[in-house]
């Protein structure tokens, strides 16, 4: 069926805006994979926890999620650091398959903790700007999405600078490339692992703050994003930061257009078709470095 061009344009723009935040969620996942070579199954649960963090900041302390984003990111950096240093690292005893189980266990614990504290209700905040629109030509774009897009770009730039211009970034890249070599030249690998995990978790905190004004939170909400994030990571190339952001944008547009044409119920089909196609045709993804 045909849609007028302005409707298609708006769907594409919506997809780009949503996709940026997907990219941010995927960024944390891909970073942790790229450096620690583990798939963090607790990613979704940590996103949920961050969303509750932003929710509590808003409802109990009256702090707007956009204001809370940076303090939350700092808090979640510390949390991520501690989780890797005190839980995942020691529990894994150096075996990757253990890490898989540890993060999976962690996700179950976090989810149920959220369930115990917040019950299973879906909650949302009523931000005064949640339904504001930004007019872009004929398209009406939701204000929270536009902010989400802008903030994701900023985070992307900040992360790029961190990775290329700082000693920590250099160390992270060194550990990602060659763990033993990095250790030999005096890099504290355990520390770098924890820092990376912390950065990934901090990305989630920012994503959570960006999502909350236009989205709801429930104890299992993170899973909805993480499936998409996995697809993005595979599409962008495991471990690639640019791939995650670009992959997010592509997946966002695919989801939006397939939602428009196939209906919301089938909209996710597009995403998973891409997932399968990438695995079949280009398993390294768009920007995958390793085969």
């Amino acid at each position: 069926m045909g849609f007028p061009p302005e409707i298609i344009l708006e769907a594409v723009l919506n997809g780009l805006l949503t996709g940026a935040v997907y990219g941010l969620v995927a960024l944390g996942l891909t970073l942790v994979y790229g450096v620690l070579h583990i798939i963090n199954f607790a990613h979704g649960a940590l996103l949920t926890a961050a969303m509750y963090g932003a929710y509590v900041a808003r409802t109990a302390l009256g702090i707007d999620p956009y204001v809370a984003a940076l303090p939350l990111a700092a808090l979640f950096f510390l949390l991520g650091y501690a989780v890797q240093r005190l839980v995942i690292g020691p529990a894994s005893r150096g075996k990757d398959e253990n890490i898989l189980l540890v993060t999976l266990g962690l996700s179950i614990v976090i989810e149920n903790l959220m369930l115990a504290v917040f019950r299973s209700d879906t909650r949302s905040i009523d931000a005064p700007y949640a339904m504001d629109v930004v007019e872009f030509g004929p398209a009406l774009l939701g204000y929270p999405r536009v902010v989400g897009f802008g903030a994701t770009i900023l985070v992307g730039i900040a992360l790029y600078l961190l990775m290329t211009r700082t000693a920590t970034g250099k160390a992270i890249r060194a550990v990602a490339k060659e763990r033993t070599g990095a250790a030999l030249v005096g890099i504290d690998v355990a520390h770098i692992y924890a820092v990376t995990f912390g950065i990934g978790t901090a990305c989630l905190a920012i994503a959570a703050a960006l999502l909350l004004p236009s989205f709801y939170v429930s104890p299992r909400v993170g899973n909805a994003f993480v499936l998409v994030a996995f697809t993005i990571v595979v599409l962008g190339g495991m471990g690639s930061v640019v791939g995650a952001l670009l992959g997010g944008l592509i997946i966002g547009v695919v989801e939006s257009l397939s939602g428009l044409y196939l209906g919301e119920s089938l909209g996710q089909i597009g995403i998973f078709l891409i997932f399968i196609l990438v695995l079949l045709v280009r398993p390294t993804g768009l920007f995958g470095a390793r085969a």
Binding site: I7, A11, R119, S120, T122, A130, M131, Y216, L260, E264
Partner: protein, 403 residues
């Protein structure tokens, strides 16, 4: 008072001997266990919590009023089960309740849970009273244990369609084109099929039928499609969170049809929606369950609910009424025996007046109360008003919506 009403009715049913015993509760009368099944975790937890509240209030009221008189003032003891928002959860709770020795089960809320749970209960000849579940399959399987006090899908939708035509005709037929938005589960898809078959017969043209999943993250595409189709009417059938999202997105996208006419919608006659998003909720119409505003008990119950800082949803009065129905059956059965309760439930008639739904005299045929009926509501000035049936409506419909 109510005491005498019960006595009179029980006399009619010939258990005067039991009832002649003093009405004072005797300490030794063993409590009657009643299973209350609601989804209080998962996607349907809001409905489940408010259903449980209704059952609790009814049980408290019965116990405070001297328990079940025909059983020597036996108290009702609630055995609560969390259906966890899925049929499997419902079935496993039925098994537990069976093990606990409940005399009947009330609840279920969603049709899939009601279907599975009532079937599980039927294996033990355990009476099951559906609180809300509207699927007509629930009462068409020939299960002798299953009863539904409220209206089913067919009754609600035909009332919804009749009222829609009446509404449109009275306003000079401003609407002709319709877009249907529905959740893609058993409830919403069934509704969409039926509307697609019935609306054209009544002079409406269905431009498109849009399905969405539950939970849905985003309604922008649905709104975009509606915007490009420009229908006169939007008819949504979804659960709470999704309809709220749709209504807010439509508001954001400046989509203003002549009417949003919901059928059995989870949000449109929900005070939480009205309080939290008054602008998006304004003038939304719904054809749904709703308690009888003429009955004094309705206002009393609503006060009790709001005193607990809870919202007033139809789940509460429906579960209150369903528990009252079981209590009434127990009084008439004269013993806490499942078969006797099933028999008594089936024989319920107009003498059962302790419910607060706007139904005529109760009469069960194959487990379905023939008097069960919906009402049409509209959100007006931050309140939910009844606009149909006209004989007890408390507001005039505002339609078509302009501006």
């Amino acid at each position: 008072m109510a005491k005498f009403e019960v006595a009179r009715r029980s006399l009619v049913f010939g258990v005067a001997g039991v009832l002649a015993a003093p009405a004072l509760p005797r300490a030794q009368a063993p409590a009657v266990k009643l299973g209350i099944l609601q989804p209080v975790t998962g996607a349907l937890s809001q409905d489940g919590e408010h259903g449980r509240l209704g059952a609790e209030l009814a049980i408290n009221e019965i116990n405070a009023g001297g328990g079940i008189r025909a059983l020597g003032g036996a108290r009702i003891e609630m055995v609560f089960g969390d259906a966890r928002s899925n049929p499997e959860g419902g079935v496993s709770e039925v098994e537990k309740m069976q093990a606990e020795g409940v005399v009947a089960i009330v609840g279920g809320f969603a049709s899939p849970i009601c279907l599975a749970a009532s079937q599980a209960a039927s294996r033990y000849d355990l009476p099951y009273v559906v609180d809300v579940g509207v699927s007509d399959q629930i009462v068409s399987r020939g299960l002798a244990n299953t009863f539904r006090f409220g209206p089913g899908f067919g009754v609600v939708t035909s009332a919804a369609l009749d009222n829609l035509v009446a509404l449109n005709d009275a306003a000079g037929k401003p609407s002709r084109t319709v877009v249907i938005v529905h959740e893609d589960g058993l409830f919403g898809s069934g509704m969409a099929r039926l509307l697609n078959a019935e609306l054209p017969k009544r002079g409406f043209e269905v431009l498109e039928t849009i399905a969405h999943p539950t939970p849905a993250r985003d309604m922008n595409n649905v709104a975009l499609r509606i915007r490009s189709l420009r229908p006169d009417l939007v008819i949504p059938s979804s659960y709470y969170a999704e309809f709220v999202l749709l209504a807010r997105t439509m508001q954001q996208q400046r989509i203003r049809p002549k009417g949003i006419y919901c059928v059995l919608n989870g949000a449109a006659s929900n005070y939480r929606f009205v309080r939290e998003f008054p602008d998006a909720a304004n003038l939304v119409m719904d054809c749904n369950h709703w308690p009888d505003p003429r009955k004094p008990k309705t206002a009393e119950l609503r006060q009790q609910v709001e005193a607990q800082n809870r919202f007033w949803l139809y789940n509460t009065p429906m579960n209150y009424s369903a528990v009252m129905l079981v209590a009434d059956a127990l009084e008439r059965a004269g013993r806490a025996d499942r078969a006797a309760v099933i028999q008594a439930l089936a024989a319920t008639d107009g003498a059962f007046t302790k419910h607060i739904m706007p139904y005529g005299p109760t009469r069960f045929v194959n487990g379905q109360n023939q008097a069960g009926a919906p009402v049409n509501t509209q959100v007006q000035n931050n309140d939910i008003k009844v606009i149909f049936p006209r004989d007890f409506a408390d507001a005039q419909p505002v339609y078509p919506v302009t501006g």
